[in-house]
């Protein structure tokens, strides 16, 4: 009884918390929108969403920008993968960011949802690697400033395979010889998921047979109305994939983690991977070299090129400052080089790209990527990955019968859902 007064006091305390929570719920993300200034347009305050690595790399550039323009920049650190959904859901509320870092293959969906706006690069467009601008372009408009380019290539263990393979057959022969002699366990390591395979990592081989997923317009962009997945070359790839699966060259049970680990153990002469795994190989003391993937089907085995860049929200409170920030600062050599050094992905700005060529790995991956095509950024692509991957997984695991028939059925199904 004596406590009832105190209990009441505690109750009121809990209430204070409740109301604080209420205030938080009522004003979405009050810490991100700069709720302290009632008129957000007036302050010249730029809100930028990016991941931790790049935020650290850009610290210097951001403070230069702040000094030179008198703008306050608020960097919100986000997990890279969440930026896309968060921007889509939060931007229309008006409380979202001005500038975000994103991947080029998000662009189609972001435009469809109306959350990013085009940026006119003018003359500086010519200062970037062509493939990076092509990747950031959707339906004729450029949606942002590219910062890094990444792609996969063939990485070989030079102790097991001293020379780059001259052909796909050469690669398979060297790999199998290494397995037979007991030097290695696997002829080749490609990390895939047992249920969903990995169309991205298998694409270079597919490209060597068939060419693109979608037809390509004159200006180099993809034509969503012209699905090429079911063309003759791609069906031939399906048959080859079935054979590789049967021979154990592509193994459905080797996940990306296993592929990385086993290559670092020296268990295979070859792996197909990107620059993001190189540090693991270096730490494991593997002597490696990077080269192009040999053609299995006669045409060049070109990988998909992924580009990351800064984009401007369509709901930006500060569109002018945002455009200035990305076209004058992020597009500068200092920013591009800093981001490159933090992540070992080749810079998109040509001058920084040239400078980065002194790094052997970057040069080697860059040479492979220069032949590559950007991953399609049209919104239709999202629906494709799942069907594409499931079918590849079935073919590799020798389930479901004739690979060519499976592949054709998949292509028809996707065609149907694109039209529907």
């Amino acid at each position: 009884m004596k406590h009832s007064g105190l209990m009441k006091a505690a109750g009121v305390g809990a209430l204070a918390l409740t109301l604080a929570a209420c205030a938080g719920g009522g004003t979405p993300a009050p810490t991100e929108g700069g709720s302290e200034s009632p008129a957000p347009q007036g302050g010249g305050e730029l809100v930028v969403w990016m991941d931790e690595n790049r935020a650290a790399a850009l610290e210097g550039v951001v403070s230069t920008f702040e000094e030179e323009t008198g703008t306050t920049v608020e960097v919100v650190i986000k997990d890279f993968g969440t930026i896309r959904d968060d921007l889509t859901t939060q931007a229309p509320s008006g409380e979202g960011p001005d500038v975000v870092l994103g991947a080029h293959d998000w662009i189609g969906k972001l435009v469809q949802n109306g959350v990013i706006s085009p940026v006119e690069l003018g003359e500086i467009a010519g200062d970037f690697e062509e493939v990076s601008i092509q990747a950031m372009t959707y339906e004729g408009s450029v949606y942002g400033v590219p910062v890094s380019i990444e792609n996969i290539a063939l990485v070989r263990n030079t102790a097991l395979a001293p020379e780059a393979p001259a052909s796909w057959d050469d690669l398979v022969a060297t790999g199998q010889a290494a397995v037979e002699s007991g030097e290695a366990e696997f002829p080749l390591l490609v990390g895939i998921d047992p249920n969903n395979a990995d169309p991205y990592h298998l694409y270079p081989m597919q490209a060597s047979f068939g060419g693109p997923v979608f037809g390509i317009n004159e200006d180099g962009s993809y034509n969503a109305d012209d699905l090429q997945l079911g063309n003759e070359g791609n069906v031939a790839f399906a048959t080859a994939l079935g054979e590789w699966g049967a021979q154990g060259i592509i193994n459905p049970n080797i996940s990306q983690d296993i592929a990385k680990e086993q290559f670092a153990n020296g268990a295979s002469p070859y792996t197909i991977t990107g620059p993001w795994n190189l540090s693991t190989f270096q730490d494991a003391g593997i002597e490696y070299a990077v080269s192009e993937i040999p053609s299995a089907g006669g045409q060049p085995a070109t990988p998909f090129v992924g580009v990351q860049g800064f984009m401007v929200s369509a709901y930006a409170n500060n569109p002018i400052v945002a455009a200035q920030f990305i076209t004058e600062y992020v597009a500068g050599e200092e920013a591009q080089t800093a981001i490159f050094e933090s992540g070992q992905r080749a810079p998109a700005l040509s001058s920084a790209f040239e400078a980065a060529q002194s790094n052997e790995d970057v040069a080697a991956f860059g040479a492979v990527g220069a032949e590559g095509v950007p991953m399609p950024n049209i919104p239709e692509m999202d629906a494709l990955w799942a069907d594409w991957g499931t079918t590849e997984a079935q073919i590799i695991a020798q389930q479901g019968g004739d690979p060519a028939a499976l592949w054709t059925a998949m292509a028809e199904k996707i065609q149907g859902s694109l039209e529907g």
Partner: protein
Amino acid sequence: MTTKSAPKAPAKAPKRGIHHQPPSMRVLAVKIVLLSLVDAVAVFAMSALFFKGDYAVAGIVLIVTLLVNWIYLSPGLLPAKYLTPGLIFLGIFQIFVIVYSMIIAFTNYGDGHNSTKEDAVASIVLQNTQRVEGSPAYRVTVVDGLGGLGLLATSPEGEVLVGTQEEPLEPVDPGAVTLEGERAVAVEGWTSLAMQDILQRQQEIAALQVPLSDDLADGFLRTTDAVNAYVFESTFVYDEAAGTMTDTLTGTVYEDRGNGAFESADGQQLGTGWQIFVGGQNFLYPFENPRYGGALLSVMAWTFAFAILSVGISFFLGLFLAIALNDPRMRSKQVYRVLSILPYAFPSFLGALVWLGLLNTEFGFVNNAIFGSADIPWLTDPWLAKVSMIVVNVWLGFPYMFLICLGALQSIPEELTEAAAVDGATGWQVFGRIKFPLLLVSTAPLLISSFAFNFNNFNTIYMLTRGGPRMQGIEENVGHTDLLITLVYKTAFEGGTRDYGLAAALSIIIFIVVATVSAIAFRRTKALEDLN
């Protein structure tokens, strides 16, 4: 409380037992400080909401704050004083979320239907506003004049022009222009905007379109950085009066036919649409698409099977272990008890990831060590994957059941067992007729909540198979081990088209199922309580 204690202390009780008695100064001070804190936060929240234009939410905060003050300042109302904080939390974290999901379930919110129609119109026009190929780049200065904001543009040839949204670009007298390098920075009759002013009026400047000539087809100047401007042309024109969108290149007219997007006469929709209410369409979707409906039914059946089998098997396993480890004849009980609780001490998603490695067909410990390197597809065969899910989930769940059974067993008085034995009951009879029913009284509510938890056991499924292997023959990405909750997640956040509306409708179905099952089960456990 007061009424119960009153008779025990009759001398003091009459005074203290009355609610209306004014509290001591100290309590009053604490109360006032805390209440004023609450009010301060509320006032801050209200003003922030008010300036943002969220009047309705501001109003709700105001009403709740007034109510709270009234409750805590008025004498009496003791039950309300205890319940209010809980009720407010309930409102925010439960009721609001449920109501919000329900609202979304009746909309087409998702990819392509992300915001309002107004936003969609602006976005479509913006998407189709493109720089005229090979057009010159102008250096500009933003100027302010009688006709509003304008652009003072210097062409690549050095010609200086000025214009506004309404007045097309006109050459100006070179004598009236101030040049900085080759770029005109000021002109008589206009005020050049300083950096500070530009910052203040950013959205206005970004929206400014200055026509090149009286003919709109010539395009217009636009700047995205207030320094460079380019000639743009827009290929989509919105007719506000008619509410139609026209593609000026092909002449196709798209109109709003109530489907949340612009549609042409032959049914082509523009990619960017807007949110509308679609009534029960999301709920009807499974019925209108029999294949999806079939898949949904099998997912629901599997969800029930998964939840019931997980709870059932892990309960009996836990009970068995509890009985075994509760037996006085068992040696080193403590060691075994600690060992069997270990899976519980693991975060469940980590446990699931470890199992993912163990169950790998070629490299996994299970196949290599137990099944003599057989290639058993634990996670890729539809039926084996289901078995694996249940095995892993039982492994994750039995320690909990073991703990509660052990506790419940120890709380059953020994005399009951002894009395039954004296009456000639066998060991099985003692367990089946006395111990087990008594055990159920205390564990049944926990089994129900465990069922509800496993019905929505996202971690185990998502970490092990992501719902796969995929079902064949349907367009949507539905897998053989998908629970309703992982299906909701996939519908909302993964795959081709994110469909928040459908996902919200599915989550309401889950809510109804879990609520119904729990309500029935709780009612039945009341019957058990009569045993006491």
